[in-house]
């Protein structure tokens, strides 16, 4: 178990307990994800920090004595050492299965190069390899794969998940909700330094507007049960979708690519505003009268999306 409590005077506040496994730290840029990781890794100190791993306190240990390996988002390789030199240097005393990662991360041909000779994504892969070679029980990835192209990033996440030993903890931060929901078991959410969670990804519903925005919700409609949160994947235009919450109004669809349509929907009064989203094209539905929200999620806060598609798309 990993337990952490931190309050006031630190840049992040909150308390949580995480079981071993692969977990996501989700939040907008500047919300405090990096601050949280630096506290756990021991790079930033706070008198109000209590961190324990497996019953042992980490709070007072220097960074090198903690059971953590931390990979930041920015370049972190040693500039004047080749990839081989620094990975082997970090791996001394560790005979873990990190060798297999050289192929998984496709670093064989860069093995004898210096970091400056590598692209941003290649440097991030090398930094990940170096952290795996360190063989620590807790691995902290702070948007550490952000410069890797999406197909490779998904492969790496998948490998990290399947190869994670059951007693280990992997925390990765991201502002891509799809990565969190695909690869994490639980999620911590950080908004303006406030840590909430963890919540099981299967049951993750927004508890505030910031969380709803990151999770891809596009708006809310007031109902007698509270505010109905609307997610594009939960909207159906098909008549067949009988089960769900029907919202009357006027909508239009416009194809923007062979695989995607932009939608616009204005609910009838008393509901106000306009919902904008993109989704799978539905044939013969250039305009439609109502939408069905198939798996309604209700919240006690109103959510107006600031990040929806621009109305000019229509």
């Amino acid at each position: 178990m990993f337990e952490l409590t931190v309050d006031s005077d630190a840049r992040v506040r909150g308390t949580f307990v995480l079981a071993p496994g692969m977990h996501a730290v989700v939040g907008a840029s500047g919300a405090g994800k990096t601050s949280l990781f630096r506290l756990i890794a021991g790079l930033d100190r706070s008198h109000n920090l209590m961190a324990r791993w497996g019953g042992q306190s980490l709070s007072t240990l220097p960074p090198h004595s903690r059971s953590t390996a931390f990979v930041p988002q920015r370049p972190s390789l040693v500039p004047h050492r080749t990839i081989a030199q620094q990975v082997k240097w970090v791996a001394i005393d560790h005979t873990g299965p990190w060798n297999e990662w050289i192929d998984i991360l496709d670093l064989g041909r860069h093995w004898l190069r210096y970091p400056a000779e590598l692209s941003g994504g290649e440097q991030q892969r090398a930094a990940l390899l170096r952290a795996l070679a360190a063989d620590r029980e807790i691995l902290l990835l702070d948007e550490a794969l952000s410069q890797i192209d999406p197909p490779h990033r998904l492969i790496i996440y998948r490998q990290l998940k399947t190869r994670l030993e059951p007693q280990r903890l992997l925390m990765f931060s991201t502002h891509h909700w799809s990565e969190a929901e695909t690869f994490a078991e639980a999620m911590l959410f950080i908004n303006d330094g406030e840590i909430s969670g963890p919540v099981n990804i299967l049951e993750a519903t927004p508890s505030n507007s910031a969380m709803a925005a990151i999770m891809g919700y596009v708006g809310s409609i007031p109902t007698p049960h509270g505010f109905l949160l609307i997610h594009p994947r939960m909207i159906s235009l098909e008549d067949a979708a009988k089960s769900g919450f029907v919202i009357p109004g006027k909508g239009r669809q416009r194809r923007i690519s062979p695989t995607t349509s932009a939608y616009q929907f204005e609910p009838l009064p008393p509901a106000k505003g306009r919902l904008l989203w993109t989704g799978t094209p539905v044939p013969d539905r250039e305009s439609f009268d109502d939408i069905v929200v198939t798996h309604p999620v209700f919240a006690d806060f109103q959510f107006e999306d600031g990040n929806g598609i621009d109305s000019q798309v229509m």
Binding site: A41, L43, P63, H64, S76, L77, A116
Partner: protein, 249 residues
Amino acid sequence: MKRTALFFSAFVLALLFMPVLVLLLHARSMPQLLESASSIRAIEITLTSGLAALAIDIFLGMPLAWVLARVLRPRWGRIWVTLLLIPLLMPPLVLGLVLAYVVGPASPFGNLVSLLNTFPGLVLAQVYESLPFFVLTAWGYLSAIPMTLEEDVWVLGKHPWQAFWFVIWPIARSGFAVAAAMAWARIVGAFGAPIIVAYHPSALPVAIWIQLEELGLPSALGLAVWLVIVTLPLPVWLNWRFSRVRVDR
């Protein structure tokens, strides 16, 4: 623009090399000087005392520069710079007078072992003239090395000492090399303090002064050329050996 800059640089270089040229033109006494035992002795003393002083500078200055650049809070940096500037600004002659008082028979310490006109006294005077230059130069280099270079390997389980040798030392040593070259230039040229503390054994600057007083300018200039010749190899080697290391990433 580029032409102006080149012309300007050439002008400054010419200005810098003018004394060397004049020196070489008037250095006909050079070969004879090698037949004089006192000249040979002065060269020997310059090299031996200089190396001893440089070793002390490095021994004392490296840890101090490290602490100033990496351990103390950056906010206090300015206060420390100011404090270090005071010994730097002390006129060497005044430094020599103070040292002569401290290590001479007039003080309780000097009463026990007077260092006046001894080899250790000469080394002490050279150290006092050069140490601030070593520390300030090394400090400037060290503080330009980003803290994150170390942090990024601490968090992979590397002890700060391991991080220092693998990550920082290859970059820092070029800074220490430049600092050592600066200190060396200051040491072998030290005149103000040594002439008070250690007129004997005379290192080259004091020997040049004596030569000037006793035999006139041409002879003194010849000895000055020897000063340049015997002291040049060390800073040249330091620069060649340590000047380039890759720090971009």
